[in-house]
Amino acid sequence: MTRSRFESRRRFVQGLAGGALVLAGGRQLGWGASPSGAASGGAGHSSWGIARNGANPGGKAIDPGAQSQDPGATLSGTDFQLEVGATQVNFTGVPRYATVVNGRLPAPLLRWRQGDTVTIRVTNRLPAPTSIHWHGMILPANMDGVPGISFPGIHPGETYEYRFPVTQAGTYWYHSHSRFQEQIGLYGPIVIEPRGGERHPADREHVLLLSDWTDTDPERIYRLLKVQSDYFNSNRRTVGDFVSDARKNGLSATVSDRRMWGQMRMNASDLLDVSGHTYTYLMNGVTPAGNWTCLFRRGEKVRLRIINGASMSFFDIRIPGLAMTVVAADGQDVEPVTVDEFRIGAAEVYDVIVEPKDDRAYTIFAQSMDHTGYARATLAPAPGMPADIPPLDLPAVLSMADMGMDMSSMHHGTSGAHDMAHMSKTPSERPPKFGPNVDMVASQPRTTLSDPGVGLRNNGRRVLTYADLRTIDGPIDARDPSREIRLHLTGHMQRYIWSFDGQKFSEAQPLRFNYGERLRVVLINDTMMNHPIHLHGMWSEVESPGGDFLVRKHTVIVQPGQQLSYRVSANALGRWAFHCHLLYHMEAGMFREVTVEGGP
C-alpha cells in the first residue's frame, strides 16, 4: 500500500518515460520518444537543436537529423499557418486533452529573421475562442493577441491574420491569452536570427521550453485556490518543523517567529500557489522520466535558449558540473555573466552558453522554486546517456525581511533576519491604506536587486541576480523619465484576491500613458509571492536602486517585500495588457489595461 502510493506519486512527479503527445490514432508524436524508439525511455530527440556547420570547427554536421524525422517541429520563413486545436496527451498514465498548435505540445518553434515582416494565419479548430500572444514582441497593438484589448479573439472556425515587422532579435515565445489554454499546452518558442549575426556566436544551440503540466482541469485548480488557497501547499510548517527550528534557532526565537507569522495569518512556506503536488514539470513537453536529450561535442560552445512557459511556476536552473554564461535576458543581449544557477520566473527567457569540456552527460536541472518537483534535460555527447539527477533542495521558507517588514519594530529577530542583514532599506514612506482585499503592506520594502531571492541565498553557488544584468546597447531612450507611476502589487492570500493598488481589474480604470513620454514605473510588492510582471507592447528597462539603467526586459520579477523600478518609453499607441504572468493571479485580478494615447 505504502509502496504503491509512493510509486504512483513518483510516476506523478516524474511522469511517464514515454509520456507525450498521443494522437487520436495512438501514434506517438515523439516529444518524449527517442528517434530510435520510445521503449528505451532514454533520449528525447533534439529537433530544436541546430548545429551551425559554418561555426563548427570540425566542419561536420552534428545535427542528429531529428528535424527531418519531425518536420513540423520547427517552422521558419515569413509565412506561417498555425492551427489551434485539441489533442489527447498522456504524461502521467492518465489520458487528458491539451490545447495545441498544429497538433503539437509545445507548439512549433517559429524561426524568424530580424527585419522580415511575418504573416501568421492562426485558425481556431477548438470549440472555444482562442488567441495567440507573441510574448515580448514589439508590434502594433492589434497584433498583440489579447482578446478584448488587442482584438476580439479568434472564434471557433475563424482565422486571424497576424502581420507585423520583426524589428528585434533573440529568444521569445508565444502562448494563448484565452482563459487557461496556456496551462494545458498552448505555448511555443520563437527564435529570431539577428541581421548582423549573433553577438555571442555558438557552435550549436538548443531551445529548452519549461512548462507545468497538470492532469487537473485548470478551472478546478483556480476554484480550489479560491476556496482554499493553501490547497496545493505540501510544505506547510508542522510541529516537527517547530521542534527542529527551536533546536536550531532557540525556542524563544522560534516562538516569536511563529507568533509573527500567526499575527499576519500567512504561511511562510507559500512560495508557489500550485506545486509539484499537482504539476508534472515538462522540458520541451517531455516529463523528467522521458528525459529530453540534447547533444553536444566536446569543446563546443552550446547556446541554450531557456524559456519559462509555465503558467504558475518559477524554476531554479543549474547544470551540475558546468558553469553557464548568461548572454541574453528576455531576448536582449547582455554583457556575459557566468553563474552556476539562475531563477527564471514565469514568462522570463534567458540564453546561456555552456562549454562542456568532458565527453560525459550533464543534467540540466530545473527545480520548481518551492522544491516540490523538477523538469530536466540531458546534455550529452550521444543519445541515451543519462546523467545523475541532483536531489531536490530542502523546501525554503520566507523570512520576515522577505515580507518587507521593518525588523527594528519586531520584538525579537528571526532566523531569517540574519541572512537579510545586508539588505538596504528605503527610508520610511507612509504605507498606503488599502481595502479588505489586501492582507498586508510592505512597510519597509527592500530596494536591492542583488538578492537572488528566497531559497537561493547562501547556497554555495553563484546565483544570477538582476544586479548582474547589463543590456549591451543601453537604454532605448536616453531621456530621464518625466513622470513616475507607482503601483503596489497587492493581494489577499486567504481570499485569493490579487490586484494592483488594492484594485482588481474589474475595479480599476486603465493606466494612461501619454504617447512619446518616458516613464518610470515603480512597483512595490506588498505580497508574499514573487510576481512576474509583464507589460505588453513596450520594454521594461529595469533600473538600479540608484536609477542607472540595467537591463531591458519584457517580464520583471518583483520579489516579496521588494521595490523595483523600470523605465518605459510610451512609444506604442493603443491598448495593452499589463499583468502578473502567474495565470491564476491574472485571473484573480492582477491585471490592468494600459492605454497609450495622444499620438501624432
Binding site: R179, G240, R575
Partner: protein
C-alpha cells in the same frame, strides 16, 4: 445569447494596410453591425471598442475576477459514544456561494439521537448574508431556525466570522428571537499540523441565553460549553477521517434542567467521523 451577440457585433474583421500610419503596419477593423452606416468608410483607430462594460469585456477576454464560487464543508460529521446516551450522530456544516465580497452562507449544526425518542435533538440552521468588512473579518446577518426536541425557535442573527490572530478560525454571533429572546454563540477552532496529513483540531463552542427556555432544556446565562479535540488524517485535502474526544459541560439552570430530565451536568464522549468538503 450574449456571446452570439458579441460575436456578431465584432464581425467582420478586416485586416489591411493603412498607408501613413507609422505606428502600425496593419489594422484590424471592427465594423459594428449596429452602426454599419456610420462607420462605413471610416477606419477606427483600434479594433476594440473603448465603451465595453466589464461584463462585455469578460465575454471577450474570458477572464473574470468577479466569478462566484460555492463550497460545502462538513467540519464535523460524526458518531459520538458516551455520556448518558447510547450514541448519537452529530454534524457541524457550512456552505457558501458568492464572490469575493458578498456571499450567501448556510450553516447547520446539531445532533441526532437514536435512543428511544429517535428525534432530532438540538439542531439549527442559519441562512446568512456574508459581507467582507475588514482584512480578516466578515459580517454575517440573517436568520436562524432551531428545530428538534422541544419548542422550535426562530432568531434573527448578526455576527462576525473570521481569522483571529494566530490562525484561530472564529465565529461570534448574537441572536434575537421573534418572542424577544436573546442568545449568543462563540466558536473557535485551530489546526495544529502534526505532519502534512495528520492534523489536530481543537474546537470550542459556548452558548449563552438571555432568558431561560425550559421547553428546550435551556437556562439563562452561559448555558453550555463544548471543548473537543479531533485528530484527522487527510487522505486528501478534501477527505479526512478523524477520531476525537468531546467534553460537554452544562452550566447553571441549563444543567439543572438537563439533570431533571435524566441527563448529566457534563458528558465526555468519544467520537469518530469524517471531515469532508467539496
Amino acid at each position: 445569447m450574449k456571446v452570439t451577440r458579441m460575436l456578431l457585433a465584432m464581425l467582420p474583421l478586416v485586416v489591411g494596410q493603412v498607408a501613413g500610419a507609422n505606428a502600425t503596419t496593419a489594422i484590424a477593423t471592427l465594423v459594428d453591425t449596429n452602426t454599419v452606416a456610420d462607420s462605413a468608410g471610416a477606419v477606427p483607430a483600434h479594433p476594440m471598442s473603448h465603451n465595453m462594460s466589464y461584463r462585455e469585456m469578460v465575454e471577450v477576454m474570458q477572464m473574470d475576477d468577479t466569478s462566484r464560487f460555492a463550497k460545502v464543508m462538513f467540519d464535523q460529521l460524526e458518531w459520538r459514544n458516551g455520556g448518558t446516551d447510547e450514541g448519537r450522530a452529530a454534524w457541524d456544516a457550512q456552505s457558501y456561494y458568492g464572490g469575493d465580497y458578498d456571499k450567501l452562507w448556510i450553516k447547520s449544526e446539531g445532533n441526532y439521537v437514536t435512543d428511544g425518542r429517535t428525534d432530532v435533538h438540538d439542531a439549527d440552521v442559519e441562512v446568512l448574508w456574508d459581507r467582507v468588512i475588514s482584512r480578516w473579518w466578515n459580517l454575517q446577518a440573517g436568520g436562524r431556525q432551531d428545530f428538534g426536541s422541544g419548542q422550535s425557535r426562530t432568531w434573527a442573527t448578526l455576527g462576525v466570522e473570521g481569522l483571529a490572530p494566530q490562525w484561530f478560525q472564529t465565529e461570534a454571533a448574537i441572536y434575537l428571537s421573534d418572542e424577544g429572546r436573546t442568545a449568543a454563540r462563540l466558536k473557535a477552532q485551530y489546526e495544529l499540523l502534526l505532519t502534512q496529513r495528520l492534523v489536530l483540531q481543537p474546537f470550542a463552542e459556548a452558548n449563552f441565553y438571555g432568558h431561560s427556555d425550559p421547553a428546550r432544556e435551556i437556562g439563562s446565562g452561559l448555558s453550555d460549553l463544548e471543548i473537543s479535540f479531533r485528530l484527522r488524517y487527510e487522505a486528501s485535502r478534501q477527505f479526512a477521517p478523524y477520531v476525537g474526544v468531546v467534553w460537554l459541560r452544562r452550566f447553571g439552570e441549563t444543567a439543572d434542567l438537563v439533570r431533571a430530565a435524566g441527563g448529566e451536568r457534563s458528558d465526555l464522549e468519544l467520537t469518530a467521523g469524517l471531515r469532508v468538503w467539496f
